[in-house]
């Protein structure tokens, strides 16, 4: 088994998951509580990675972070290296790719928090931010964990985006799913079988955890 690939994959998935907790919570909060009438425009954008082929998403990300885009130039001016085919670039792509897998469970959990409890907190003098951390987060803990774990699991198995944005650099951007593909191409079936089994077991364990925690049918297939 290619432990380097496993290490890269786990690192990528953990960082993606953590980043999505930071980025996804405010987005989900806004999607749940905003009364803006054009909110559905943003909702649709967040859900796009669910339906787009990874190659399309990967292509646009590659263009967006490439040296010819303002974003890519800004990054290379500051950091001194370019984003495409680097671990950082792969991380950005993973975050975007897994965004709905985090945001949708978050938003569903927030929606299930009784509005009256939030109002009670406000009348007791707690600001919206304090109410969020003291009341809404504990009440939607299961949904937040579900979102984090789902985005972790989803990143573990991503293939197309990794190939497009990360390239296939050993120890940097070669993830487990690409390693399996390479093994098969090289007719190394036993190596592929080992890695595939590993990924199967990990994915199953993650889903077991989520289902056991939520005991609800919807947990894996984000619904709105």
């Amino acid at each position: 088994m290619n432990w380097t690939a496993i290490w890269v994959t786990c690192k990528l998935a953990s960082l993606t998951s953590m980043a999505l907790l930071v980025i996804g919570l405010p987005i989900a909060y806004w999607l749940t509580f905003s009364k803006w009438r054009w909110k559905f425009l943003v909702e649709s954008i967040v859900a796009l990675p669910l339906v787009l082929p990874p190659t399309v998403l990967g292509f646009y990300i590659l263009v967006a972070i490439g040296p010819h885009s303002p974003l890519g130039r800004f990054y290379s001016d500051i950091v001194g290296q370019t984003l495409p085919f680097s671990f950082q670039g792969l991380l950005v792509a993973s975050i975007l790719y897994s965004l709905p897998f985090a945001v949708q469970p978050f938003a569903t959990a927030f929606e299930q928090v009784d509005r009256k409890l939030i109002e009670a907190s406000w009348t007791l003098g707690l600001s919206k931010t304090k109410t969020f951390f003291k009341l809404i987060v504990p009440l939607s803990a299961a949904g937040l964990i579900t979102g984090a774990v789902l985005s972790f699991a989803h990143t573990l198995g991503e293939f197309g985006v990794v190939l497009m944005v990360g390239g296939n650099i050993e120890g940097v951007t070669r993830t487990v799913s690409i390693d399996i593909y390479d093994d098969v191409q090289a007719l190394n079936y036993s190596g592929a079988a080992n890695t595939a089994l590993f990924l199967l077991i990990v994915s199953y364990a993650v889903l077991l955890f989520i289902y056991a925690m939520n005991r609800k049918v919807w947990a894996v297939w984000p619904q709105k």
């Binding site: 009256k116 109002e119 009670a120 907190s121 009348t123 003098g125 304090k130 009440l139």
Partner: protein
């Protein structure tokens, strides 16, 4: 500036009569104003607007010297900054917090020691000793109500807002907690605004009542006045209790209380302490009129009186009878003709004990 609350707001909901409430009412310590009306009359919307949980499209809300809302001047004070205690109909206790945690929730500005002390005081006052570590779901309805009220008053608000404080309770608990709530409100010396659709609660809890109907305040006054002297037919219809008079319980036997009202004795159902003041409430339609004192009936109250006023009231006739106190009876026109009742006629008013409602007035 006078201590008062002035409300003038308009809020529209699709498919419903717009709420356009206007009232101005002086505040003293421990005064409770009851917003009374049928469901859908807009009383909860008014209360929520005062709390800052609902934003009227137009209007203003002023409390003492502060402006909480003024749509013209663009002032919108958030609920966090209004220093109010608000209790929702189903209490909205935080399921993740214990009783003590719920009470301490709004005390974040205090130091740890002060917070402990305040929680302790409130626990004592609301008789929650021993339940501090319990979660809300382990409590009875009455206990939940006390925790919710304790949580609302713990930060020492300037105004207490209660939305149907007793409606989530079963009937026996409700009766018991009604007097308890009244005592607590007096003890807290806090002005309060209470929403209810129950006329007995209005009489029992309110120093003032605002009768609401279809989004408007129809009458504002002392409950007894509003009940006995409604300004128009709509208020009379909503209230439905034409006779409200003060009395004292003088005897209590077998679940029947004897009450003295201006020298007249009346029997009503219920268990009350002897000597305690009560409101005697009688609906006009529950009063039967007889000519002369004829035979025995099962009704416990037979009052001799003279008709002092006859007012047509739709298909009915409303009669005021002087029987030691003014009593209102509603009879049909046919009955009036058959009994040949005119102004000055002597009649016997017959009322079953069950129709004589006694509302404690502490």
């Amino acid at each position: 500036m006078a201590a008062e609350i002035a409300i003038d707001i308009t809020k529209t909901f699709s498919g419903r009569a717009p709420i356009s409430a206007m009232m101005r009412y002086p505040l003293q310590q421990a005064t409770s104003l009851v917003l009374f009306g049928p469901s859908g009359s807009g009383k909860t919307t008014v209360l929520r607007s005062i709390a800052g949980l609902e934003w009227p499209e137009r209007g203003s809300i002023r409390f003492i010297s502060r402006t909480w809302l003024d749509t013209q001047a663009g002032i919108r004070v958030a609920p966090q900054h209004r220093q109010i205690g608000y209790m929702a109909q189903d209490y909205a206790l935080f399921p993740t917090h214990t009783v003590a945690g719920n009470i301490a929730y709004g005390l974040g500005a205090l130091s740890f020691a002060e917070r402990q002390k305040r929680v302790d005081e409130v626990v004592e006052l609301f008789q929650l000793r021993g339940l501090e570590a319990a979660k809300p779901r382990e409590l009875s309805g009455g206990q939940q109500q006390r925790v919710a009220l304790a949580r609302a008053v713990a930060p020492r608000p300037q105004l207490l807002l209660l939305d149907e404080p007793l409606s989530a309770l079963d009937v026996p608990t409700r009766m018991q907690l009604r007097s308890e709530l009244r005592r607590l409100l007096k003890h807290l010396a806090l002005p309060s605004i209470i929403v209810t659709h129950d006329w007995a609660e209005t009489l029992s809890l309110g120093d003032m009542v605002a009768v609401m109907h279809e989004g408007q305040v129809l009458q504002l006054g002392v409950p007894q006045d509003v009940f006995c002297r409604p300004v128009n037919a709509a208020v009379a219809q909503i209230v439905g209790v034409e006779t409200v008079i003060e009395g004292h319980v003088i005897e209590q036997a077998d679940g029947v209380a004897t009450v003295r009202v201006n020298g007249t004795l009346l029997k009503g159902l219920g268990v009350h302490e002897i000597g305690s003041p009560v409101f005697v409430c009688i609906r006009g339609e529950d009063v039967v009129l007889e000519q002369g004192g004829t035979g025995l009936t099962s009704a416990r109250n037979h009052l001799n009186g003279k008709v002092s006023e006859i007012v047509p009231h739709g298909v009915m006739v409303q009669m005021k009878i002087d029987c030691g106190f003014p009593l209102v009876a509603l009879v049909t026109r046919g009955a009036q003709e058959e009994l040949k009742i005119e102004r000055g006629s002597s009649v016997v008013a017959v009322i079953k004990a069950g129709a004589v409602h006694l509302v404690p007035r502490t």
